[in-house]
Structures are given as C-alpha cells and as structure tokens.
C-alpha cells in the first residue's frame, strides 16, 4: 500500500483526527451512561475509530452507510448528529429514532446512515439494495456496509457479494476484522483466515488493510469508492482492527485473549498514530490538536446533557410507526 499521506491535505487530516476523537469521547461518555444504568446492551467501538473515518472521508450525504450492533463509530463518521445519537441511546423522544431503536439501530436517512442492525450479517443485502437504487436512478451514490469478522460467516455476505458483482453495483463491503466475534477468535471461525481472499471467488477485488491506520483506510477507501462511483463494481475491504473493550459492557475480554495482545494493539492506537503523523509531518501543532480534543469533549458533553434533559417518548408511541398507513 503506497503511503499517500503526504498528499493528504491538512483539512482532511484534521477532519479525520477530530472525527476519531469525537467517536472515542462519545463512546467513553456512552459507557458512563451505561454504567449509570441509563442504557443497556451497548457495544463499544473504541479502538475501531479509524475504519469508518478513513472510508467516510470520501462519502457524501447522499451516499449510504449501513452498520451493525457495534455502529456508533459508523454513525458519527457518517455525520449523524451527536445530540440525537446520545438521546437515542437514552431512549429519548429527541433521538435519531425517537427512542424506538436504541444503540443497535441508529439511523439517519438525511445523512445517508441507513441504519445499524442488530442481526449479524443482516444489513449486507440491504446495502446491495441501496446500491441498486443508485444504479436504477442513474446517480453515482455508493453504498458502504460494515460488518465484523464474525459476520463474514453468514451466508448473506456471500449472496450479497455475488449479486453486487454480477450487477456491478456500487457497494463497498467493509469487514472490520477485530479478531473476535464475542469470545470466538477469528482464526477459529474463518476458514483460511482471510476474509479478503474470499472476494476472488466473486470476481471482485479483496483488499486487506491496516484498520489501525486511518491513512491506509483513507487510501483503500478512496480506490474502492472511485471504482464504485465509476460503475466498475464492488470491492471487499478487510480492515484489521481491534476492539479495546469487551464485546459488551459486562464482558471481560481477558477471558479469551492475552494482555500482550491488548498491549500490542493499544500501542498502535489509531488516534495516537494519526496524531504522531500529523505532528511529525508538521501538518498541525500540538495546540491545534489539543483544541480539537477540547472541541470534541465539549460537543460530547453537550450531547450527553441534551440527551439527559430530553423527554422520553409519550406512551402512545408504543403503537405508532408500525405502519405508514393503516
């Protein structure tokens, strides 16, 4: 992978830095809210910030992104409003989904966030449909779907890859390989120990990328999205990444992985890496980055306050939105 970071402008670099910091702070805050009993069933994306950030740098509001049970980072990178996201986590009426969807289902169609999804692998064909829309309507929108290494073993991925390939649809399949599906190690569950390699059987490029390097994610994202917009068809990207926390709140990952392994990945933290890169290349100063850190902290605090102070949905919301028309 040619490192083209030299060609990356300051604006993009700082946008990526800020986005990753916002994600991290958002997740720290949502964890605090969860620990305080205000929400349950949260899957933290800390450690994986670089993946959707590098990809989303190339996306527009009229491009689609689709996520998983672990999707706060996908949403933030795609531009979903922090206030509405945090309100959704707390089940408030002001949430992205009016409090009906929660942490695993955040969606914001205006930002092209077509929804997180709690069923592993379920969103992959849906993403193919969003791409099909673009093709039938004749525009150049693309559709990005994120899924985990565990999801790679769902049949839906394979049906979707085949469809996208024969129809040359603008889909980018992004596997966030964080090495675990709950407590199940990647090397146990994925025959051949490569998701990217499976792309070949579907006549599409399969690219393995360092998911801890936002620069590399930016790079592979750029080419995949260019291909998609140009009508050249889908790409599968396997981003090698790591979740720092347990699968969900109560999970202690040291029951299935070593401290050394955790240390190894944390030493290659995506935020730190980008920070060092920016400083090393002189693209910005410590102070500039510190001020972005602070700005991120302020928006996340504001979002948390907004969410905390927002009203819950009214009881009648239980039965609305089941149908558009009854």
């Amino acid at each position: 992978m040619a490192n083209t970071s030299a060609t990356l402008d300051k604006k993009t670099l700082l946008w990526m830095y800020e986005t990753m910091v916002v994600i991290r702070k958002f997740e720290e805050s949502s964890k605090r809210e969860a620990d305080a009993g205000k929400l349950r069933g949260m899957h933290s994306s800390i450690g994986q910030e670089a993946v959707p950030t590098g990809i989303s740098a190339h996306l527009r509001d009229d491009d689609y992104a689709l996520g998983t049970h672990r999707s706060h980072h996908h949403c933030i990178a795609k531009g979903v409003d922090l206030n509405e996201m945090m309100a959704e986590l707390l089940g408030k009426a002001t949430g992205t989904n009016k409090g009906k969807g929660g942490t695993m289902h955040i969606a914001d169609i205006n930002k092209g966030m077509l929804g997180a999804n709690g069923v592993v692998g379920s969103n992959i064909p849906v993403a193919v449909g969003a791409a099909l829309s673009a093709k039938v309507k004749g525009n150049d929108s693309v559709s990005v779907v994120y899924f985990g290494d565990g999801a790679a073993n769902q049949g839906s991925l394979h049906e979707a890859m085949n469809l996208a390939s024969i129809w040359k649809l603008p889909v980018i399949f992004v596997c966030e390989n964080n090495r675990y599906a709950e407590s199940t190690p990647f090397e146990y569950s994925v025959a051949g120990e490569s998701v990217a390699k499976r792309a070949e059987g579907y006549a599409m490029p399969g690219v393995e990328a360092d998911g801890q390097s936002v620069l590399e994610m930016w790079e592979v994202g750029k080419e995949a999205i260019r291909r998609a917009r140009a009508g050249e068809g889908p790409t599968l990207i396997e981003a090698m990444t790591y979740r720092y926390h347990g699968h969900f709140g109560a999970d202690d990952p040291l029951n299935y992985r070593t401290q050394e392994e955790e240390d190894y990945y944390e030493a290659r933290d995506c935020v730190e890496q980008l920070k060092n890169h920016i400083l090393d290349t002189g693209k910005a100063t410590e102070e500039e980055l510190a001020s972005l850190d602070e700005k991120a902290g302020v928006s996340v605090s504001a979002a948390t306050k907004f969410a905390d102070e927002s009203p819950f949905p009214l009881p009648e919301e239980l039965t609305t939105d089941v149908y558009v028309n009854v």
Partner: protein, 358 residues
C-alpha cells in the same frame, strides 16, 4: 387495529371504475396490474428468479424465456428492459434484502418469492428488516416493498412447495398480507400493494392461476383496498369466511347450502393483516353463526384469529360456537391419494355449516 372510516365503505359497492371490463385470467390480471404500476411510476422495479428468463442472452436472440415461474411477468421485459425487470440468482436472502434496501432508498420493488415456503431462506430480511425498519427507525424510513409468492396445495408438490403460511407473516407487526381470490381482486390488490408505503406480501394460490371467473376486470388501474374484507354474497343464516382459494370453496358451499334451504353469507377476507375485524363482526352479528375456512395450518393461524375475534367480540350474538374448517395439524402429503384430504373441500364446509345450523 380498527379499520378506519375509509375502509368502512364497501369498496365493491362503488362499482367497477369503468365499462371496459374483460374476462381475464388471474395471470393476465396480475400481469396487467404490474405493467400499469410500472408505467405510472418509474421507481417500480421487479426482481426474482426467471421473472424474465434467459438473462444476458438478448444478443443470442433469447429474451423473456419464462416470464416468471407462473408467467405473471411475461412480456414485461420487452417494455421495461432488464434494468427494471431484473432476473436474480437463487439468493433469496440476497435479493429480498436488496428489495428492502432499494425500498428504503426510493424505489418500489416488487420481489418474487417463488413459493411461500422459501420464506425459510430469507425470513430474516422479511421479519427483521422489512417489518421492523419503519418502527425501529422512528417512522423516518419507509419500506414500500411488495413481495409476491405462491401458496397452496393441489399440485402434488409435497410438503415444501405447497404451504399456505400467511399466518406466519401476519404474526409480525409491520407486515401487510393480502390474498386475492379471483382476477378482479388480484389486479386491484397488486396495484394497492405496489402503491402502498408499507411492506406488503401478496399470496397467490396456485389453483387460481388459470381462473377466469369472478367479476370482470376493468382496463384501467384500480385499487382493492388493503385491510378491507368483501361481502361476496349476502346471507342470513350463517357466515362463511374464505381467504383466496377458500373463498371459491365458500361460494360453492353457499350454493349447495342454498339448495338445502339455508342462506349463507360469504365474506372474502382478502387481507390477512391488518384484518378487517369490522366486516367479520357485522356479518356474524347478523347471521349469528360462522364457519371459518382456511387452507393454512391450523395452529397459531389466521383461522384461530377469526375464531377468537368472533368469540371475544360477538360472544352474545353467537347461536353456535365458531367453527373452523382447516387442514389437520399435518404437513402436505405428496400422494394423489392423500393431498385432496388436506385441502378444505366444499363437502367439509357444507357439513360444518350444517352442524352449526342445527
């Protein structure tokens, strides 16, 4: 789920919207409905296995080899082309899921699921995505997806290809389920379903495909409203409810009963979800007796719902317990000698009606 004022108006009483009516087969009526829906709205697309056939072979002179497994989509590719009439691989989870995604982003896909039993391979997309997205996303995303599928025994296709499992779909809030009973309702329900902003599943019974009976079919597009049952035939002594093919059974049974001196009211339920409770309750409050005829498996079924509805909400009007005529709790057998015993027959309906009339 109370039917609203609009639905209360009997749609049949408005009369056919045109004088230009024809005797069409069920297949012709559906084909026309899809064609008209595609003409009026460029966002309507159709996907499914062999819905055109011989995909990619136009240059070799092959096009529209099948026109759909039951020929419902015959001739459409010539008018609308392969971008909108889209043959798929055998990947139901893939293309039904793609239908959900396309629907959520501005298209109105009509997706063919060859047989209802193949629900098994794409149930996740239907039950977890199509049914739930609108609700989970706080009403901010619509999924105007239509799925058409074949149901019914009677063709010696054995247990996997003969199911009538609309009860399963109706169980899920968020899905609408309709079941045409003749060419007229088929055309109207297809047009309503495609125009509807919710996911709608249309269940077509195999044995109705060649059917030419029922009201004549108007040329122009018209809707048969979703959520509204139809009183096919008024009567005073007993209500017979049918769905799809069993509506035809009920009509025949009513004729036999009338020879025995009984006046049966036939209600064609048409929509399994949302159910038109009002029409059923009105009918049974008048006749005070009901025989519910359905080909779906009996347990946790639409027939149970109708029976429970009547028992709970028309209890004081009933002169006899509600009575269901359904298959037994068994699978669909292959043998020519056994399959006819599975399907509700005119004889069984007449016998049941005679019993509640005692």
């Amino acid at each position: 789920m109370k039917p609203d004022v609009l639905k209360k108006q009997a749609w049949k009483s408005q009369g056919p919207p045109s004088d230009k009516t024809r005797k069409l087969t069920f297949i012709q009526a559906v084909n026309e409905a899809i064609r008209q829906a595609m003409r009026e709205d460029p966002t309507v697309i159709v996907m499914g296995e062999d819905i055109a056939g011989a995909p990619g072979r136009e240059e070799q002179g092959f096009i529209d080899a099948w026109g759909g497994p039951t020929r419902l989509t015959k001739g459409l590719i010539q008018e609308f082309g392969p971008e909108r009439i889209r043959d798929t691989p055998i990947s139901e989870a893939g293309f039904v899921g793609a239908g959900v995604g396309a629907a959520a982003t501005g298209l109105r896909p009509l997706v063919d699921l060859m047989y209802a039993g193949f629900f098994g391979v794409c149930a996740d997309q239907i039950t977890n995505n199509a049914a739930k997205m609108h609700y989970m996303f706080g009403g901010k995303v619509n999924v105007p997806l239509t799925i058409m599928t074949n149901i019914g025994a009677g063709a010696n296709s054995a247990a996997q290809h003969s199911e009538t499992i609309y009860s399963v779909f109706a169980h899920y809030p968020g899905l609408k389920c309709v079941v045409p009973s003749d060419p007229y309702t088929a055309k109207g329900l297809f047009i309503s379903a495609i125009r509807d902003n919710d996911p709608v599943i249309i269940f077509n019974h195999k044995l109705l495909m060649g059917m030419r009976a029922g009201p004549e079919v108007p040329e122009e597009p018209y809707e048969v409203p979703i959520g509204k049952a139809n009183v096919v035939q008024e009567g005073a002594d007993v209500t017979l409810t049918g769905v799809g093919y069993t509506t035809q059974i009920c009509i025949e049974a009513a004729a036999e009963l009338s020879q025995q001196g009984y006046s049966a009211e036939v209600v064609d339920l048409l929509t399994v979800s949302p159910m038109d409770e009002e029409t059923v309750l009105e009918s049974v409050k008048k006749t005070r007796r009901i025989v519910i005829v359905d080909e779906d498996y009996p347990r946790c079924s639409f027939a149970s719902d109708v029976s429970a509805l009547v028992a709970e909400q028309a209890f004081d009007y009933l002169d006899a317990p509600p009575c269901r005529v359904t298959p037994p709790h068994t699978l669909v057998p292959y043998s020519l000698a056994l399959e006819p015993l599975f399907i509700p027959t005119v004889e069984r309906v007449v016998a049941a009606a005679t019993e509640v009339l005692q």
